[in-house]
Symmetry: C2
Subunit: 140 residues, 2 copies
Amino acid sequence: MQQQVSVITLGVSDLERSRRFYVEGFGWMPVFQNDEIVFYQMNGFVLGTWLAACLATDMQREGLARPGAFALAHNVQGREAVQPLLERLSNHGGRILKAATEPPHGGLSGYVADPDDHAWEIAWNPAWAISPEGLVTFGL
Amino acid sequence: MQQQVSVITLGVSDLERSRRFYVEGFGWMPVFQNDEIVFYQMNGFVLGTWLAACLATDMQREGLARPGAFALAHNVQGREAVQPLLERLSNHGGRILKAATEPPHGGLSGYVADPDDHAWEIAWNPAWAISPEGLVTFGL
């Protein structure tokens, strides 16, 4: 089986509020949007923000809860970029969960919640390579 | 800002139970593991399964809930691969949420929950290209 994730779909309450966080906070450009979903072309897969009620219907699943037991991470190229990005995201609808600190394995990392309480880690991890195209490779 | 996600981290209760689902169900190979986390090198980013208590401590966040308001998707190359993969995953610790059906936009899609109740969509979407390296591109 191909070792591959095609889509990450986040359930959101207010599509425009979520869009502001991703477009103005992260500076990302949607590849598609309508009145219930926004898609972003990412590094080898697609990120979708979809009205949570639509996602629940599609999954035939009720009781979707937040915050969920997961986190996404966006790694940056240098130590000095971590805290400013956390602050920029908090200025565009996010909420800082943890200011940038040094984890035991090195680097620098903090967390911010998006407007729907989905957690993003913002990290500098010098052991993990990031290609010019944004492809991230595990390293020790 | 690079349009890039570096890591998806899923909080898990039982690392070995989760590992069996991903290694024996999906057939994926870990790139690293210890007694609290397993990492998989994916298509341009890293998937981590981490003890939920460790993730909560790292985020400085309590009350992580499942099922969360999100889904991951693994797209396959053909219609005929969807339902067998759902069944294979359900035979390795997963639970089918929705059998393969045809969504309005075409293709074929079903959902399975992993042993920690994280939702995976298994889909065939002929409009979205998958490269030999597993890089997925949005299409209409």
